[in-house]
């Protein structure tokens, strides 16, 4: 079990520096090294927003989160696969694939987030026939006996496919152990989010983002240590407090905003106190029970204790969008920023409904679109700056 990744007494800048290096590394060197350490190791990639990483971990494999190529990857081949009116993430993901950057990945999971990712699963099957590819469906019915049974069986199928890939069954005890490990990781993620909501000047959004991104590529045990060390280190460091307003950032659950965009928001006077980035790292909102049937536990946790997002059906009209209102209240936020990838159906179709709910709750908001390779931050900075100023004006400070 890893106890320290950065050495005891790591400084904030050392930890963040490491996370930044992982973020910058488009060849996934760390994951490659992890795999190279033993001939029986396998790596399973997954796309946003949620896969049960516990199953991959229990099979002794490394779950590797893939969220596109960002603004540093030059997309040359990927554009030949997509029309201009489709978002960026599938084309940069294809670029990662065809340029060999994912050639060490043994399997790919494509969660049911939207039709683009769905169709990408079929493309991956055709383009990389040696890779295990699964479209990972989740239930849109939340009754135990209906959606729960269906999902448990889907988990059985995934578990068995992973077992076949490694050549031996995945046991319940292995699964229980993995659930324990991920519960711990999620607890730390929640602690980090809670800490940021309390003292956003201590934990800039860009740092939190980099730490969460590290969680996509590091073995979970190492990531847990990283989070723990970061929390300990930031508590010790006094950082200047600005007169920023507090906002919830939403719509950023799939294609990633450029790091500069996140930094720009803070520079423009907005502390991000909650967001829907890297939902996979905190999809389950409470600990998943260890006792009993582990797959059933994961299924029930999905049904009853998971994040709300555009890719999930909300059966109850009165509940629609309330997660956002609750996030605002929980974090004492003063407004919401809708940042949606261009051409993103889930984010953009959901947005008007969420905005109606916010209006009813008297919560101010602004909205803009971005692409993972957006370069010009000036307009966004201006919009966010005006928003921050108007919030301060409304609140009379």
């Amino acid at each position: 079990m890893a106890t320290s990744v950065n050495g005891s007494g790591s400084t904030v800048s050392a930890i963040v520096g490491r996370a930044q290096a992982l973020f910058d590394d488009l060849s996934f060197t760390t994951a490659r090294a992890w795999k190279a350490a033993s001939p029986d190791r396998k790596v399973i990639g997954y796309l946003p927003i949620y896969v049960p990483r516990e199953l991959i971990h229990a099979a002794g494999m490394l779950p590797l989160g893939i969220v596109g190529g960002g603004d540093q990857l030059e997309v040359i081949h990927g554009d030949a696969y997509y029309q201009s009116y489709i978002c960026r993430i599938p084309r940069s993901t294809i670029e990662l694939g065809v340029t060999g950057r994912l050639d060490f990945v043994d399997g790919m999971l494509f969660p049911s987030i939207c039709d683009v990712i769905r169709n990408l699963s079929g493309m991956w099957k055709m383009m990389f026939p040696k890779v295990y590819v699964r479209y990972f469906d989740v239930p849109q019915n939340y009754k135990d006996e209906i959606g729960g049974n269906y999902y448990t069986q889907e988990l059985v199928e995934l578990r068995d496919a992973l077992a076949e890939l490694r050549g031996k069954p995945v046991t319940d005890d292995e699964l229980r152990h993995s659930i324990t490990v991920y519960n711990e990781n999620r607890r730390l993620v929640r602690d980090l989010y809670a800490f940021r909501a309390q003292k956003p000047w201590q934990t800039p959004a860009s740092e939190v983002y980099l730490l969460m991104r590290a969680g996509l590529v590091l073995p979970v045990e190492e990531h847990t240590v990283m989070l723990r060390e970061y929390l300990a280190a930031v508590a010790k460091e006094e950082r200047p407090r600005r007169d920023n307003c507090r906002v919830v950032l939403t719509g950023v659950f799939c294609e990633q905003p450029p790091l500069n965009l996140i930094k720009s928001l803070e520079l423009a006077g907005c502390y991000v106190v909650d967001d829907d980035l890297q939902l996979v790292t905190r999809w389950l909102t409470s600990d998943c029970p260890i006792e009993g049937d582990p797959l059933k536990n994961l299924a029930l946790a999905f049904l009853h204790h998971s994040e709300s997002t555009a890719a999930k059906y909300e059966p109850n009209l009165a509940e629609k969008g309330q997660h956002l209102v609750r996030a605002v209240k929980r974090t004492d936020a003063e407004g919401v920023i809708f940042a949606c990838p261009s051409f993103c159906d889930p984010a953009l179709l959901d947005r008007p409904m969420l905005q109606h709910v916010l209006k009813d709750a008297n919560i101010p908001f602004i909205a803009f679109k971005y692409a993972e390779n957006s370069g010009q931050m000036q307009p966004i900075r201006e919009q966010a700056g005006t928003f921050a100023d108007s919030i301060k004006l409304w609140s009379g400070t």
Partner: protein
């Protein structure tokens, strides 16, 4: 995506008198009248989608089936969708999303006037048959917000691995038994009778058999039908509010007889300008059409002697030509299987297989893709589809872009240019082939 139904753009010449055409026109007009007079008659209305349209089940509860995609198509054909889309954008909908949704929402905002000039009814229930398109879920969440009516989610898992598993069927049947049927009973006040469903399904099978014969008649040379532009009319009753009715059985019987008659006489398809001239190119088309300039688009084909012999769009409401038939002996399972199998619920390799097979079976000259700007379900992946089909069949493929109901994205000159070069490409290929022979 979906299907046009009312033959509004009725063929100008003798064809307007075809039995099937008249019959369909009457059927559609009667259906819109039933919908717009539901306020007086007290009939209750169920909105649902074309892919995964459970018309037989809906009829078991005496509910009227209202398909918002069909309404959007009607708005497109009547050139009103442009204003509706703008209206929706004005009230906060993004320019990037599916224009069917925006046409529907804009139409609602502007008084919800149907094709017969009367107000369309508010739904009593939204049956969110979530099949093959992510947008459906948001669309009905948006409508639910507006109408505040009962909404039922019926989740169809995606055929990611190209097969239907027992788990998928069980999941769907359970949803039908425990969610869909009880809610429809409650909303309608009508008790579910499985034998009534069986009877409707028996009728569906008859109509399905005849529809398949019609579609497969395009294997003849010359093809007696256009299986895309014309095909859209043919699938109207089947994909809309008529599957399972006697009207549909009769319509498809007439239609089949007419098409067989054309085959016997060696005739080509009927177009809005009358009989098509000599068949010069046989095409397979992938993707929905454009509705705002439907006739203009079609004309670009028939003017050049190009006929579409098979299309994927005419399979969005069921892939009957690959063998699926509703099974009255297993009524709920068959509804599940139907939803699972529709074209947009098939994975990309399956779509490629289907298109490549069409090219072989229908002896087509190649594949044409009409990529719809605002439809991710169809469009994401089409460039790979194009290359794969080309590779497999050795036949040329081409790509044009437009939108379903947003006139801003129909560029006639561009499309015409592309088509012309495509036809030249086919000629060159032929010349090459005969030189090599």
């Amino acid at each position: 995506m979906t299907v046009i139904v009312a033959p509004k753009a009725a063929p100008a010449k003798s064809v307007a008198k075809d039995d099937s055409m008249l019959k369909q026109k009457e059927m559609m007009a009667a259906h819109f009248d039933r919908l717009t007079s539901s306020g007086e008659t007290g009939a209750k209305v169920c909105n649902t989608f074309v892919p995964g349209n459970l018309n037989e089940l809906i009829m078991c509860f005496d509910l009227l089936n209202n398909l918002p995609e069909v309404n959007a198509i009607q708005s497109g054909l009547r050139r009103q969708s442009g204003a509706y889309v703008l209206e929706a954008e004005k009230i906060g909908h993004s320019e990037d999303v599916c224009t069917y949704v925006k046409s529907d929402i804009g139409m609602m905002a502007k008084g919800n006037i149907g094709p017969n000039g009367k107000r369309m009814p508010d739904p009593n229930v939204l049956l969110l048959s979530y099949t093959g398109c992510f947008t459906f879920m948001k669309w009905f969440e948006l409508l639910r917000e507006q109408y505040k009516c009962e909404t039922i989610m019926l989740h169809t898992p995606y055929m990611g691995d190209g097969k239907i598993t027992p788990n998928m069927i069980q999941y769907m049947v359970k949803q039908l038994k425990e969610e869909v049927i009880p809610t429809l009973e409650r909303v309608s006040g009508v008790k579910f009778d499985i034998d009534r469903l069986r009877e409707y399904l028996k009728r569906s099978v008859k109509a399905e058999d005849d529809l398949v014969k019609v579609l497969q008649a395009a294997k003849t040379k010359p093809s007696p039908i256009d299986a895309y532009f014309g095909g859209i009319y043919y699938i109207g009753p089947m994909f809309g509010a008529f599957r399972g009715t006697e009207d549909a059985v009769e319509y498809y019987k007439f239609l089949r007889a007419e098409v067989e008659d054309r085959v016997a006489k060696g005739l080509g398809p009927v177009t809005p300008d009358g009989d098509m001239g000599k068949e010069k190119y046989r095409l397979v088309v992938e993707g929905p059409p454009n509705y705002t300039n439907f006739r203009q688009f079609w004309k670009m084909f028939y003017d050049e002697g190009a006929v579409v012999v098979a299309s994927s769009y005419t399979k969005v409401g069921g892939v009957y030509d690959l063998g699926f038939r509703h099974d009255p002996d297993n009524p709920l399972e068959t509804l599940a299987e139907y939803c699972l199998g529709v074209y947009t619920n098939r994975n990309l390799p399956q779509r490629i297989d289907m298109l490549a097979n069409y090219i072989d079976e229908y002896e087509a000259d190649g594949l044409l893709i009409n990529s719809i700007k605002s439809c991710n379900s169809f469009s994401a992946g089409q460039l790979l589809i194009m290359r794969e089909v080309e590779k497999r069949t050795g036949k040329p493929a081409a790509f044009v872009e437009s939108d379903l109901v947003d006139p801003r994205y129909f560029s006639a000159a561009n499309i015409k240019n592309r088509l012309e070069s495509y036809f030249q490409m086919i000629e060159q290929k032929r010349a090459g082939a005969s030189a090599a022979a």
